[in-house]
Every structure is written in C-alpha cells, then in structure tokens.
C-alpha cells in the first residue's frame, strides 16, 4: 500500500542575487536566514551590474545584465533560478543606428507595473532608459530622454554616464522618475513622453554653479510605495529628502560621518526608515575611520544611527556601491550588502546585528533580495 501524505506548502525561501565583476551568484536560505547556500558563479568572467527576480504574471523569472569584456553587454533570463539562462534576449538592448552611440553597460533592470507583467525597464550607459513590452525579448529607447535637450550636457562620473534609478508612481500611472550620474533627477508626468529636471536644492560641488537645474551627480534615489511622493536621495556629497516627488529637496545629513556615499535602501515596511553606507569622500571612497557602518534613520532623516554589531570596526577600508545594498520583505526584514572587496553581509533583524554571509567573492556591484518557494 502506498502511503500518501498531504504536501505541505513550501516555506518562503530567502534569495540573494549577487552581481560581481566576474559573474553572478545566487544565495538561498530558509526564513531564519542564518545559513546560506551559494550557487555560482554564473556568467564566469562577465560583469553583472543588474539583477532582477521578477514574480509578476505568475512567473518567477530572473533577469541578469551581463557584460563580457570581449563580446559586450546583454540581458539574459532564467525561469529556473539560474540552472539555465538564455543566451541573450532577442537582439538585446541596443540604440537605433541614428542615435550614433552604443550601449556600454546595463546598470538597472526594473519591473513595470504589476498589471503589466511583460513590461520591463532598463537603465543603461550612456544614460538612457529602455522599455520592453514583451518580457525582455525586444527593447526600445525612451525617445523623450534620448532626445532631451539636456542630454548632450550630461557627463560621466567615475563609473560612467549611467541611468541607474527607475521609479514608478504606484498611484499615478503616468508618473515616472529616473536618476542619472551625472545628470540628476528627471520626472515624467505623461508616461515618459517628456521629462523635466527635478533637482532644486541638490548640490553639485564639482560645478561652478553649485545649484544648477541639472548636472548633479545623483547616486541613488529610493522611496516607499506607501508614501511614493517622499523620496530619499544619496548624492555625490549630500543626503536629501523630497516630500513632493522631487520638486524640492532638503538636506537630511544629520549626524552622519560623511554625506558622500552610493548605496541607499528603503525599509520594506516602514516608510520612515532608510539605510545608507557613508564613504569618506569622493577622493577616498572607503568607509570613514576604517569602520564598516551602516547608518539608519527611523524618522525620515531627522537623525541617523550607526549599525555596527557584527561588522568590522577596524581596518575596514570598504566600499559599498549604489546597487549593493538591499532589503527583503520578511516580517523581520533582512538587510544585505556586498563590498568591492568581495564580502557579503546580512542582517535578519533590520540591521540591529549583522553576520558575514560570504567572503572572497569578486568585487560586488549589485545585491538584490527576493523570495522563492512561497506557496
């Protein structure tokens, strides 16, 4: 007699997608997030600047922006968590011939709205926004940005002229916001047809006019979906908050060792809580005083506190890049970051204490948290 057993629902599995300069790694754990299993490297030798685990439309598709030094950039996908990957979607992300430029790097892959599961966005270098309406099979550049009158004056930062932040307003289907280093923040109110610079109050230390209309070196912008109008911005010198979708920005660098940095992430459940990893300066892009500290505000920037338990507090000359800080969505949220020295840290309690998940990885450029196996 064959015994039958009711199949228990699969418990949520924590996933960490880690992009490095020499490939991607997939880390998985149970919801305790104490022990992690590492899978990889995928795309050996290729830089992976952007990853996305997209669970819209009943799929669980992972997208990876890979860049071979020899053969160039492309976007690939996997429906089995990296067991197999496509060799490159369609003809991938490419400018039209009349644009006279070539995609050097894909910096961001962002999902469209939940009701449009086949819509994806890419931010690329040189700065441009691409949209796919067929799940990444084909891509087209956003013409409003491609032909923007400011576009010829955008300048590359240390990492290149990249469009790295793509935000959609969950309440207004016509509103989008993007950020460019260096170019600044731009917002569209008409579904991406036209874009206006939204940088009032954001400094540009490296220009003669410290408060230009555009040209700021914005490193990251985040917001919480429950308060989409309130934005937080990590600048190339400067921490800012906007309460009006970027119309005006106000300094919130209250009690941080440096207001220079790249990484910034929102708490998944609390719209007042934001995480950053300050760096000493633009000329010494390492953690101040050789202490690896994540800073957290729980009051929308009125004050910041260092989170250090479990993190090295001496000899830690670390760098955390703009997409290398992430949060999962468990009730007690996991916060994770990777360093250019190849370390991966995680906290299963919102940053109160940390542990090292991995060391010895290639330089980490991207960390994205997600879940899999939810019944």
């Amino acid at each position: 007699m064959v015994k039958t057993r009711a199949r228990a629902p699969k418990a949520p599995q924590a996933l960490l997608l880690v992009g490095t300069m020499k490939g991607a790694f997939v880390f998985s754990s149970d919801r305790s997030r104490k022990k992690w299993r590492m899978d990889g490297p995928h795309f050996r030798g290729e830089a992976v600047y952007a990853l996305l685990h997209d669970k819209r439309g009943g799929r669980a598709r992972t997208y990876a922006a890979t860049n071979s030094m020899h053969w160039g950039p492309t976007v690939r996908s996997s429906d089995d968590l990296g067991k197999t990957w496509t060799s490159g979607e369609g003809r991938s992300v490419r400018f039209p011939p009349e644009a006279g430029r070539a995609v050097a790097q894909v910096w961001q892959i962002a999902p469209g709205r939940a009701k449009d599961p086949d819509v994806l966005y890419c931010g690329v270098e040189p700065a441009a926004l691409f949209e796919s309406r067929d799940g990444g099979q084909s891509w087209a550049p956003n013409q409003g940005l491609l032909n923007h009158e400011h576009q010829p004056k955008w300048q590359p930062g240390g990492g290149g002229l990249c469009l790295h932040t793509i935000m959609l307003d969950p309440l207004n289907p016509k509103r989008m916001l993007i950020a460019i280093s260096t170019g600044g923040v731009y917002r569209s109110e008409d579904g991406g047809k036209s874009w206006r610079a939204r940088n009032s109050g954001v400094r540009a230390e490296f220009l003669p006019d410290k408060h230009p209309e555009f040209g700021q070196c914005v490193h990251k912008v985040v917001h919480h979906p429950s308060r989409p109008e309130r934005l937080f911005l990590q600048n190339h010198w400067g921490l800012y908050r906007s309460d009006d979708w970027g119309d005006t920005w106000h300094d919130i660098a209250n009690g941080v060792p440096s207001d220079f940095g790249f990484a910034m992430e929102m708490h998944p459940h609390d719209p007042d809580t934001v995480y950053i990893v300050p760096l000493e300066s633009d000329t010494f892009r390492c953690t101040p005083e050789a202490k690896l500290r994540v800073y957290r505000t729980t009051n929308a920037g009125k004050s910041w506190e260092p989170l250090v338990k479990g993190l090295p507090q001496s000899g830690a000359y670390e760098t955390v890049l703009r997409d290398a800080l992430t949060a999962d969505t468990f009730e007690s949220p996991g916060i994770y970051f990777g360093t250019r020295s190849g370390k991966l840290f995680g906290s299963a309690n919102g940053g109160t204490s940390w542990s090292e998940i991995a060391d010895g990885l290639p330089p980490v450029v991207c960390v994205k948290a997600s879940t899999a196996g939810v019944a």
């Binding site: 300069m21 490939g23 071979s68 020899h70 053969w71 160039g72 003809r91 400018f95 011939p97 070539a102």
Partner: protein, 92 residues
Amino acid sequence: MITLELPKALCSFAETQASVFLDDSCKTVGEALIALGKQSPKALDRIMDESGSVRRHVNIFVNGESIRFLDGLSTPAPEGSTILVLAAVSGG
C-alpha cells in the same frame, strides 16, 4: 568563397557555427560581417556594437593580418580568404 572563423566562446553566445562560409559578393571585411549578420544577427551584435564599431576587445584578422593595421572594416577580403575573429588579450 570567404571563410569566417568564429571563436568557440562566441558560438555559444550567438548560437552559430564556428565556421561560416560566405559567397564572394563580399569584397571587404565590413561586407563579410554584414553578411554574417544576415545569417546570425546575434553573432554580429557580439563582434560589432550598434554604432558600427568593432568592439574594443575583439580582433579581426584577414589571412593572418590584423585589420587594425590594415584598412579596418574596409580591408579587402579577397576570394578564398579566411577572416578570423578572436578575443583580444583581455578578460574578466
């Protein structure tokens, strides 16, 4: 006939054969690559970017001579020649 030899790594990217045979209507390396692109657009995308430039870390040889030191994409590809595409000395 012109023979275009592609590296193994590129074949897996581009889902094409290592040896591609082109008819002699191609007079230059650039024309041969365009002909390759008609057979395998992905292969061409990996060799050249969308602005029409050979990628920085890709080298192309005609009968053993690098086109960088000849006439670039305008380098003649005579009947019977072999065009060899190789990854340059660089890597991840």
